[in-house]
């Protein structure tokens, strides 16, 4: 775990339900997916999210720490004048300069599922849109702290691929790639992960944003194979609220998004069964991935991005997992 990733502030326990409750109490924030969806370019969205996250961190009880700050040292000529801590000068009548650490050995892959099923969004925020903003925010965050970021967008096969780099221009390229991504076609997670494994022989962090809806394959098994290659894998399992709660009432003809299936259903009749099936699926997925030491994050797409990021960063700040 890179030590420069900010720790999660106390009180943020990562439970999205509580976060959602807080959100509802506070009203829609600027980081609410439904609000942010109306904001312009992805770059702006990512910046908004990250700055919001950082701003939130400054407000935390541990705001003396930051992802750049390491320690103070007495000023000596040659040091950057902008790093002089003027508050310390006022306190001790001596010049102290903030010392920063620059670790650039983190390699992170942002892998985004852009299959047709990711186009689903019951309240105006499709899963892919959510994934794009979340992925862009992660990339922005990582690049800002000097880490190298690569991007893999997949559907039936690899649709876009950007190798891992840490330059500022690369971030722009990453964001442009994500912005132009559209949800279409079926899913083939296995092929995408194999492609990634081939091009990333070194151990890296893999941030997988997917809905895990692959009718043909065993996505969990494929992810576990990636973990077996010693990659640090985090899975953002994106689900729409409607997929989770199945709120339909009227007789509905459900149409498959990645195939031609059509199912006429009285939702009220199968709702309980559906919730059981989904619950079992989530529980099995969580258990299976956690068992393989894979960071599993069940993310509902109406959860504010900052909550997800803070939760993610908070968990990452714990002692590093064995890899």
């Amino acid at each position: 775990m890179p030590k420069d990733i900010p720790k999660k502030p106390d009180g943020a326990n990562g439970d999205h339900r509580n976060q959602e409750g807080d959100t509802k109490k506070e009203g829609l924030s600027l980081l609410d997916p439904r609000v942010l969806a109306r904001v312009g370019p992805l770059q702006l969205k990512a910046r908004q999210v990250v700055e919001g996250v950082l701003s939130g961190l400054h407000k935390s009880p541990h705001h003396g720490q930051s992802i750049e700050f390491a320690e103070h040292k007495e000023y000596s000529p040659g040091d950057e004048i902008r790093h002089i801590d003027w508050k310390a000068y006022g306190k001790f009548d001596k010049y102290y300069v903030k010392q920063f650490e620059h670790e650039t050995n983190l390699r992170a892959w942002i892998v985004i599922d852009a299959s047709r099923s990711m186009a689903y969004g019951s309240e105006g925020v499709p899963k892919l849109e959510y994934a794009k903003v979340l992925g862009a925010s992660l990339a922005y965050l990582l690049v800002q702290q000097g880490d190298a970021v690569g991007v893999l967008v997949y559907g039936a096969g690899t649709r876009s691929f950007l190798p891992v780099r840490s330059s500022g221009g690369h971030l722009h390229e990453v964001l442009s790639t994500l912005e132009s991504t559209k949800a279409e076609g079926p899913t083939d997670l296995g092929a995408a992960l194999d492609f990634l494994a081939e091009r990333s022989p070194r151990r890296a962090m893999v941030l997988l944003l997917t809905d895990l809806l692959d009718p043909e394959a065993q996505p969990v098994a494929q992810i576990r194979r990636l973990r077996a290659r010693r990659h640090d894998v985090s899975v953002f399992h994106l689900m729409d609220r409607a997929e989770l709660e199945f709120p339909f009432e009227d007789p509905t003809l459900f149409l498959g998004m990645e195939d031609e299936r059509q199912l006429p259903v009285h939702p009220l009749e199968i709702r309980v069964s559906y919730l059981n099936v989904v619950g079992s699926f989530l529980e099995e997925t969580r258990a299976s991935l956690t068992e393989s030491d894979i960071d599993y994050r069940h993310t509902v797409t109406d959860t504010p991005y900052d909550r997800v990021l803070i939760d993610f960063l908070g968990r990452r700040s714990r002692p590093a997992r064995s890899v």
């Binding site: 007789p251 006429p264 259903v265 199968i270 069964s273 099936v277």
Partner: protein, 703 residues
């Protein structure tokens, strides 16, 4: 038992049973289309639920179909009825209700200190209180049918209560079948689907004619039977009653000329009996004669009480027995004429030294046999000269026996005498001058007199006799032989009888023997032979005396006075208007006098119809502006129908069998109105089944 429906139109609603299938088919087409990423989970769920869902859907469909069928089925009000019963109209939903209140005389019976009619009013008020705002009601007080405009049903229940409160029992007899028919017409005229008739009565057997067809209503579906609920105002109890069934008043000659025997029957019904029951004859409030009788249970006892009236004239009285719960029939009123003295002026036209040869000898004895004899005729004998000196207005009857001709100026007086109501008897004998009579009394004579004639073969006999005439109606059997054996040697011939003349007897050759003719208010009789033995032996025949008595009574109008004058309640009474009367006042019992005047009196007879109360109806007459005086012989009695006094109760099962239903006891109204008589209602069960289907449907939905 067959299945029928009170609201068959609602059966069309069972087609709604197809509605769930139609909705199901429509919904299949109208599924909302929705792209859904997690369709795999939906599929998995559906596979898991497939069998359960299929069964649930099938059950839901069946339950909803059942519900859609059962609700209109319940509204159609199914019921089971005997297969031989005529279809009955429904009593469900909004109903037209006719409440028939028995107002016959027997409803005056006092039970528990109240008249049965008051019990009936209470039941009627209960029925009205139980009606809904959608029901229309008509209250029909009725005893033996309803004349005139029938009341229509109304939603104004207050008006119905007022009608119930203002109704009163009458004195007429009951015949409930016409009342039921009237009730059926009332409810038939209402557009409301329910037809219900309540009959609140005392269930006396005489009120129900079970040979008459039960009431029916003509509807679009044909003849239907209304729902008739008979409510027993007596609440199943017996109604013991005694009453005077009839009364006969006859002369009792053994007591004297004005002796009369009051013979009456006392009957018991409803388990009534009695010992030492007092029976009393009253004139006004004066008790005349009293007797006692024992009455077996539900039996009849006949009793006769005799009384000699001291003087003649009109007697208004009553026979009464000890009062019981129905008191009106314990009194039997009567009006009778005690024969008054008939003052007869006998004019002997041929006095003789030998009394046995006189015309007057036999006739005087026939009119007045002697002191102590039961005759009220008081004859005075004069000769033809004496007639001219006699004031004839002091007499009721003048008998001219073989008088040659009338004294000068007397004919005119006799004519006025007859026109004023007097009687005139003319006996033709050898002295009589036909021409003089034809000249002086021509307008009065029943026929113009002609010459005397010798009988063919020397002996003529009566041939045709009008036995039905009041003069001869008393002769029966052997009593007629006195006429048949009489022989006549001579008699006067006459011209053909004049208009209005009645020939009461003829001789063998067809010549009239006795003729009567009215003239003015009086009557004239012409006998064409002698009342002595000069031309006939009739005066010594046994029939002579009663014949003369009858004829004298007829001519002086005292025969009519002996007859009983009564009508039953509701029947009209015809009154003869006395000459010169401008107004008749009829005084009913306990009511104000009713005036009859004007053109109604001109015809000589007037019909009085307002006879709805039993009792004595006194009749007064008024001339000009004078004070009204008693009109002799016009007062009459209105009697209650003795059949109404018979409180023998009808077997309710017999009535139920006739009407096709059951009879409710007054104490428990809930027994009534549950449905068409004789049927078993199913609608509540169907409704229960529908409710059950609804519960099952809800339970299935929540599963």
């Amino acid at each position: 038992m067959g299945l029928s429906f009170m609201n068959p139109a609602f059966l069309w609603g069972t087609l709604l049973g197809a509605l769930p299938i139609v909705i199901h088919l429509i919904n299949r087409r109208r599924h909302r289309r929705h792209e859904f990423a997690a369709i795999a989970f939906v599929l998995q769920s559906r596979v898991q639920q497939a069998r359960k869902l299929r069964l649930k859907r099938l059950l839901l469909l069946l339950t909803r179909m059942l519900l859609c069928i059962l609700v209109p089925l319940a509204l159609a009000r199914p019921y089971l009825q005997p297969t031989d019963a005529k279809a009955a109209v429904t009593d469900s939903g909004p109903s037209a209700v006719a409440i028939i209140l028995d107002t016959s005389m027997s409803m005056r019976y006092r039970l528990d200190e109240e008249m049965l009619f008051e019990h009936a009013q209470r039941h009627a008020r209960k029925i009205v209180a139980r009606l809904s705002a959608e029901d229309a009601v008509a209250v029909l007080p009725c005893d033996n049918g309803h004349e005139g405009h029938l009341p229509g049903t109304t939603y104004d229940l207050a008006q119905a209560r007022r009608t119930i409160a203002s109704a009163e029992p009458g004195f007429d007899r009951a015949d409930m079948m016409p009342c039921l028919s009237a009730g059926a017409r009332i409810v038939a005229d209402s557009p409301l689907p329910g037809k219900r008739i309540y009959v609140i009565t005392d269930l006396t057997a005489s009120a129900w004619r079970l040979d008459a067809p039960p009431p029916s209503i003509t509807t679009e579906d044909g003849e239907m039977r209304p729902n008739v609920i008979v409510i027993d105002a007596a609440e199943g109890r017996d109604l013991p009653n005694r009453w005077i069934e009839d009364l006969t008043i006859e002369p009792a000659m053994a007591l004297g000329a004005r002796g009369h025997a009051f013979t009456f029957s006392v009957r018991a019904s409803g388990g009534a009996s009695g010992e030492g029951i007092s029976a009393l004859v009253r004139q006004g409030e004066q008790a005349l004669v009293r007797g006692f009788l024992d009455l077996p249970t539900n039996g009849t006892e006949r009793r006769s009480l005799s009384y000699q009236f001291p003087e003649g004239g009109e007697v208004l009285g009553r026979v009464e027995i000890d009062s019981d719960a129905l008191s009106v029939d314990d009194v039997y009123p009567f009006v009778m004429q005690v024969q008054r003295d008939v003052r007869a002026l006998v004019v002997d036209g041929n006095p003789s030294v030998n009394r046995y040869e006189e015309e007057v000898f036999f006739l005087e004895r026939a009119l007045f046999p002697g002191r102590g004899a039961p005759s009220t005729i008081r004859p005075r004998v004069v000769d033809a000269d004496g007639l001219s000196r006699t004031d004839i207005s002091a007499y009721d009857l003048i008998l001219l026996l073989n008088v040659r001709e009338l004294p000068s100026g007397k004919a005119e007086k006799i004519t006025r005498f007859v026109e004023g109501g007097g009687g005139l008897f003319i006996s033709a004998g050898p002295n009589l001058d036909p021409d003089a009579y034809n000249r002086d009394l021509g307008p009065l004579l029943p026929a113009t007199l002609h010459i005397p004639k010798e009988a063919d073969g020397g002996h003529a006999a009566f041939s045709a006799i009008a036995w039905d005439h009041p003069v001869f109606s008393v002769f029966e059997g052997e009593g007629r032989e006195g006429f048949i054996s009489a022989r006549f040697s001579r008699y006067h011939l006459t011209r053909p009888p004049r208009a209005e003349t009645e020939v009461l007897a003829t001789f063998d050759d067809g010549s009239p023997a006795l003729m009567v003719r009215p003239h003015g208010q009086g009557r004239v009789a012409l006998y064409t032979s002698t009342v002595s033995r000069a031309w006939t032996d009739f005066p010594i025949r046994t029939a002579f005396l009663p014949a003369i008595q009858q004829l004298a009574g007829y001519l002086s109008r005292s025969l009519e006075e002996r007859r009983k004058t009564h009508v039953l309640v509701g029947e009209p009474q015809t009154l003869s208007v006395p000459n010169g009367v401008d107004e008749l006042l009829v005084v009913p019992p306990d009511r104000r006098p009713v005036s009859l005047r004007g053109e109604a009196l001109d015809s000589g007879e007037v019909v009085f119809s307002d006879t709805d109360t039993p009792g004595i109806y006194r009749v007064m007459k008024r001339r000009g502006r004078s004070e009204p005086t008693q009109a002799r012989g016009l007062s009459f009695v209105v009697l209650s129908d003795p059949r109404e006094s018979d409180t023998t109760r009808l077997d309710s099962s017999e009535l139920a069998a006739h009407l096709g239903g059951s009879v409710a006891g007054g104490r428990d109204l809930s027994l009534a109105g549950a449905g068409p008589a004789g049927t078993r209602s199913l609608w509540s069960w169907v409704l229960l089944l529908a409710a059950l289907a609804l519960v099952v449907e809800g339970w299935l939905l929540r599963r």
